[in-house]
């Protein structure tokens, strides 16, 4: 089969690799129909995650058909049209029993790296560096009964593919905000996950949702498709604008859908923001691995006693974290990789009822052979690209 392989920083190639086989009794093999790019892939492609190995197959958001299954898979049949949650749960450990699938004790086959760096190991993730298991997307799914979900008749492939990752990640971001009717929710990042967080916030009763980005077509989509008000952080001061929009209170819930490669839009000299220079410099010297500009802004802007919900991905260490502001403002921090398995059924229901339609995230549908160019376009946010989806 052909698969998209990472061969080094910004070096992606479609290569011929052996077909996957059943390795464990709870495995299933999925023939991929559609697979999507994801913003978190960009951290891997750019070399910001240290445990990538040349030759790793990337991609973790996909839809396909069950073509083979191990003897202990009971809930799936050959021919089922399924999506697979990008983060793998075993379905049996204490965390999976409590629907915290991304914290699964058992699904990461290479736990030593995370144990040394984070103190504990978390779930395996498809196509997401060896720290998270080194799984390849194409196409063997361990613990298939827990991780594959049949797509209902009334849901199209183009809607369903994003229920792998972008939709549940955005939905969980809103869920962690414990949104109450009347809340104002601000979302940093108007990509696929950010826009799904905006839609979900409305579904959970938010009165106003404000999206923050600098890419014009993403701001436009956040307005037109997700129904959010928007702020272009390259043109306005985010703190001033958010306080002005909320009667000086600040948003009740702040969602980070950006992560470790954030830029601040802070005061600049000849177009170079001082805060960004500081963080980029420290990143180059490897004194800091992640750039926390969004976190700093959220802590400043959030209403006293409000909630920060973080689904943008961080990998290592950050610097100049305003703990004093966070503590004295009594902020609540919620964060994590998505527990998609908890939400898939609910999300398909929302889609079937017409309350949520993620298909608009698909701006480009290309063949897999063009994947390297597709990722480049996605990275450069060219041609109004929100998500490229590949078909074999």
């Amino acid at each position: 089969m052909r698969a998209l392989c990472w061969n080094g920083v910004n070096d992606l190639r479609v290569e011929r690799v052996p077909d996957p086989t059943i390795l464990g009794p709870q495995d299933a093999i999925i023939k991929v129909g559609l697979s999507s790019v994801c913003g978190s892939d960009l951290h891997l492609i750019g070399g910001h995650v240290p445990t990538m190995r040349a030759g790793d197959i990337i991609g973790h958001e996909f839809l396909g058909e069950v073509v083979e299954k191990g003897p202990e898979v009971t809930r799936l049949n050959r021919g089922d049209r399924v999506i697979t949650v990008s983060i793998i749960g075993c379905g049996k450990c204490w965390h999976c029993e409590h629907e915290e699938f991304s914290l699964c004790d058992n699904s990461n086959p290479q736990p030593a790296f995370e144990e040394a760096a984070y103190g504990h190991c978390t779930a395996g993730i498809f196509g997401y560096s060896h720290a998270f298991g080194g799984y390849a997307e194409y196409i063997r799914v361990p613990f298939a009964d827990t991780n594959c979900f049949r797509v209902p008749e009334g849901v199209t492939d183009e809607q369903a593919v994003f229920v792998s990752d972008a939709v549940p990640t955005g939905y969980m971001a809103a869920d962690m905000g414990s949104i109450k009717p009347g809340d104002v929710v601000a979302v940093w990042g108007c990509g696929g996950v950010g826009q799904m967080a905006m839609k979900s916030a409305f579904l959970m009763g938010a009165e106003r949702v404000i999206g923050i980005d600098r890419v014009p077509d993403r701001l436009r989509a956040a307005q037109m498709k997700a129904g959010a008000e928007t702020l272009d952080y390259s043109r306005v001061d985010v703190y001033d604008a958010l306080l002005a929009m909320t009667g000086g209170r600040g948003p009740d819930v702040c969602i980070d859908a950006v992560g470790m490669e954030a830029d601040s839009g802070a005061p600049s000299i000849k177009g170079l923001a001082i805060e960004d220079l500081y963080d980029r410099g420290k990143q180059v010297l490897r004194l800091e691995s992640d750039r926390p500009a969004v976190l700093r802004q959220m802590i400043q802007c959030c209403r006293k006693g409000g909630t920060l919900s973080i689904v943008g991905v961080y990998g290592g260490l950050i610097d100049k974290f305003p703990m004093g502001a966070a503590m004295n403002k009594a902020l609540t921090f919620r964060m994590g990789q998505q527990h998609g398995q908890r939400y898939v059924k609910r999300l398909f229901e929302h889609i079937e009822k017409g309350e949520l339609d993620p298909a608009y995230l698909l701006t480009h549908k290309w063949v897999l052979d063009d994947a390297p160019q597709g990722y480049r376009m996605f990275k450069e946010k060219a041609d109004d690209c929100m998500r490229v989806v590949f078909a074999p």
Partner: protein, 246 residues
């Protein structure tokens, strides 16, 4: 070894291209700033930084080590005694029964080839080191408390003299059972935990932790998740933990 930005490996002792340029440019800027203000200390620091950058002297890694002591967790147990702990979501009886049948333990330690039962309390263990060198010992169970603990020690003439204790106690909140495994490697005739590292190529702490992880995974999900044999673009399908953690 450390991983460079290009994703390749390079020796810890040399500075990367970006780091060198950062030092050269930073050093130049500092040097000029110092000279303009008449601050010779600043100018000298800038000059030093410039030279370090030009010569490729590593600056960030010692700095990083000094500034970030908590970056990676270091093992805290001594070489002679090592302990690992895990919570398994099954009742203590099931774990106790599994462990009491020492034949099962071969599956928890990758270098163990076979465990032969000699009597109710004695067993013969056969393992292999690098290159297939046989490592053999006899072991006797000292104390057994039903569903709570098992202790054992190796008998005279063991290639790897050690004592062990495994404890099972209920985890709070109905979370199953807390399992604690302590292994003490002791002279005479051996160099303690160094023997384990020499014989099996893994640190004792890691060996104990991996064994309990295997136990947990076998008990909870009935299989050991693996990526051995999955396709990649490397032209071969092998993958082992040490390659990404070494």
């Amino acid at each position: 070894m450390s991983r460079g930005r290009d994703g390749g490996w390079r020796p810890e002792g040399s500075a990367g291209t970006l780091e060198r340029w950062a030092a050269i440019l930073g050093g130049t800027a500092l040097g000029f700033a110092g000279a303009r203000r008449g601050s010779w200390a600043l100018a000298a620091l800038g000059g030093g930084l410039f030279l370090a950058g030009a010569a490729g002297v590593p600056l960030s890694s010692p700095l990083r080590r000094a500034a970030l002591p908590a970056l990676r967790r270091e093992p805290t147990t001594t070489q002679a005694t090592t302990q690992a702990n895990v919570t398994v979501a099954v009742p203590a009886e099931k774990l106790f029964r599994h462990w009491r049948n020492v034949r099962h333990l071969a599956a928890l330690f990758p270098h163990l080839d076979a465990v032969e039962i000699l009597s109710d309390t004695e067993s013969r263990w056969k393992a292999h080191g690098p290159g297939g060198v046989p490592v053999v010992w006899n072991s006797r169970i000292d104390k057994v408390r039903e569903n709570e603990l098992i202790t054992w020690h190796t008998l005279e003439g063991a290639d790897l003299p050690h004592r062990g204790i495994v404890l099972f106690r209920p985890a709070p909140g109905g979370r199953g059972t807390e399992v604690s495994l302590t292994l003490a490697y002791h002279p005479p005739g051996g160099a303690g935990g160094d023997d384990v590292s020499r014989l099996f190529g893994v640190a004792p702490e890691q060996q104990a932790r991996e064994a309990l992880r295997c136990l947990k995974r076998l008990m909870e999900v009935g299989e050991l998740p693996t990526i051995d044999g999955q396709p990649s673009g490397r032209g071969e399908s092998r993958s082992r933990t040490q390659e990404v953690t070494g």
